[in-house]
């Protein structure tokens, strides 16, 4: 996988739950565009206006804790985020992100080295996050080959589909 490059959107808060990423009143929605309309509405009503396609979300501890709702990944992906870097993440949210092919790097403390709009580069294989605007590099958790393979395939859906077709 090649490096992912984008501008940082900073959300330096802990325990940003799925209730904030995608509030419960919308969980019946299924259309990806409609789901994207409500991105991070529970943290900031106007969050959507901050995002441009290809941006990278940089977050604090336990990002995505809470519910199993997959829309909490779909909304970030469809709103335009190319990747998420966080100090730590909720378990189910992380698994959903892997399945849907939203690259996530767990990198403790990176959020403190970044300002909104900084140019960020992520190398998932090496587990490295680079802040090109500030000239800093941080080492996060390297990702297992098992998970890297899912990211490289764009999520688990295309992999399952080819598995089913090959039978």
């Amino acid at each position: 996988m090649s490096d992912i490059k984008g501008k940082a959107i900073v959300l330096n808060m802990n325990n940003v739950s799925t209730d904030q990423i995608f509030p419960g009143q919308y969980v019946n929605l299924t259309d990806p565009n409609e789901i994207a309309e409500h991105v991070l509405e529970g943290a900031d009503k106007s969050f959507k206006n901050r995002i441009k396609t290809g941006d990278i979300l940089v977050a604090g501890n336990n990002f995505g804790c809470g519910s199993s709702r997959e829309q909490a990944v779909i909304t970030l992906k469809e709103a335009g985020f190319a990747a998420v870097i966080a100090n730590s993440v909720g378990r189910i949210w992380y698994r959903n992100a892997i399945n849907l092919g939203l690259p996530v790097l767990i990198c403790e403390g990176f959020v403190n080295q970044v300002e909104e709009g900084d140019e960020i580069e992520v190398n998932l294989k090496e587990g490295i996050a680079k802040n090109s605007s500030k000239g800093t590099i941080a080492k996060g958790n390297a990702i297992s080959d098992f998970v890297l393979n899912i990211f490289a395939n764009g999520g688990i859906k295309p992999m399952m589909k080819s598995k089913i077709l090959s039978k």
Binding site: N15, Q20, T30, C65, S68, E70, N96, F146, M160, I164
Partner: protein
């Protein structure tokens, strides 16, 4: 190599002699459950090629979040799911009258020690109270199970939480869970299993054990485990004739971590906004004015919870300034609560009673709160916007504290004194 009971379940279901923490296994699933808010499951299923499901007997639909549906979209999702179930020969649909997935699944005898149970609801950790390996997943993971009957799991480490001592009057399992969150935070068990053991756990009722396991997901846990004792076996056998195996943890198994809590002096706890780990002793927050009290959810709407609240509310009226919403967790709880007179008690006290389901807890319907309001709730999360407006405050409490708070309109629980 010494193994934990949870590891033995994962080993058996993945056709291995032994497994160890950290390894990835593909395990066969006994029950795969889908909640009505997640039509995204069927969309993922379709995206991956669709076709016949692996085993219609092992797939369960729960119409619990939209019970009954507050929106056209919710009704439409249930309609599509019903049609899918009919086409696929899936007969286990718990409709809008049945209640919350974790309650109805255990009540209907579909949870047994040694099972692997996967549902699209994060609070599926609840079912570790029966010695099952149970966890919540997203829609796409569930769709994978529907196709193949299996899912990949990273074999989790196990944390042992020993609960010793004697609980004071007026202190419940919910207070233990909130206290643990206050002490250990929201991440100490991420990716891991929490086992609850020792004298307090042995004495707790099945309902109260379910509370500990339920709240464990707020500590990050992947699943939970309580070693089945005679209470568990009796409960399961009274509801199911299917055979099951109780795996024993090897005596020399090494836990990832061990925590010991002596609960002799534990006071009622309140987690204040906006995080589950903002736990306070009741004395620190006593007197805060509350606009709505909610007694319900998979955490705090079971028979034991309604009983605890009804005992306090009997012959009393709620404060003029407060509204009380009661939502039983299931039809069985509702029926028993009527038989025992709790419904009359709640009605006489001034409560609004709703259909069993998830409604207000996840901010869906049937008891949402306005900007500037405060809600004391027996449910499980208090993140901003969880129960309505993001400018509202949610206070997590036990059913006993909720009942006292409804009477005075202010946070309190004098029973421990």
């Amino acid at each position: 190599m010494p193994m934990h009971a949870i590891h033995k379940i994962l080993a058996e279901k993945s056709g291995k002699q032994e497994v160890k923490a950290g390894e990835i296994v593909n395990a066969k699933v006994d029950i795969a459950g889908i909640n009505d808010i997640y039509l995204t499951v069927l969309i993922s299923y379709d995206d991956m090629g669709g076709g016949k499901v692996w085993d219609p007997e092992k797939i369960v639909f729960f119409f619990d979040h939209n019970a009954p549906s507050p929106t056209i979209k919710g009704a439409s999702n249930q309609k599509v799911m019903s049609e899918f179930a009919r086409e696929q020969g899936i007969k286990k649909i718990f409709k809008i009258n049945e209640g919350i997935c974790h309650s109805v699944l255990s009540e209907s005898g579909l949870v047994k020690p040694g099972d692997i149970i996967i549902i699209t609801d994060s609070h599926t950790t609840t079912l570790g109270a029966f010695g099952a390996f149970a966890t919540g997943v997203g829609s796409t993971d569930l769709a994978v199970i529907m196709m193949t009957g299996e899912l990949w799991f990273r074999v989790p480490e196990v944390i042992n939480v020993k609960l010793e001592g004697t609980l004071k009057d007026g202190v419940m399992a919910k207070d233990i869970a909130l206290h643990m969150l206050g002490e250990l935070g929201t991440e100490f068990a991420t990716y891991k299993v929490i086992e609850y053991s020792d004298s307090v756990v042995e004495k707790l009722s099945i309902d109260e054990r379910m509370v500990l396991c339920n709240m464990s997901v707020e500590m990050g846990a992947k699943s939970t485990y309580i070693r089945p004792n005679s209470k568990t076996i009796e409960y399961v056998k009274s509801r199911s004739h299917a055979p099951f195996i109780v795996h024993e943890t090897d005596p020399d198994f090494i836990y990832d971590k061990e925590y010991i809590f002596n609960l002799d002096n534990l006071l009622p706890q309140v987690s204040i906004p906006d995080s589950v780990d903002n736990a306070r002793n009741i004395e620190e927050v006593e007197g805060i004015s509350i606009d709505q009290v909610f007694i319900g959810s998979c955490t705090g709407g079971k028979l034991t919870d309604l009983e605890a609240a009804a005992n306090i509310l009997k012959g009393k009226k709620i404060a003029e300034s407060v509204r009380l919403v009661v939502t039983p967790s299931s039809k069985e709880v509702l029926t028993k609560a009527i038989e025992r007179g709790y419904y009359q008690t709640f009605l006489d006290a001034g409560a609004a009673i709703t259909t069993p389901g998830c409604g207000a807890c996840f901010g869906g319907h049937s008891g949402l709160i306005a900007a500037g309001e405060k809600c004391a709730t027996t449910s499980n999360r208090n993140f901003p916007g969880r129960m309505g407006s993001i400018e509202a405050g949610v206070y997590l409490v036990s059913p006993i504290t909720a009942a006292y708070t409804a009477i005075t309109g202010k946070l309190n629980n004098p029973q421990y004194k």
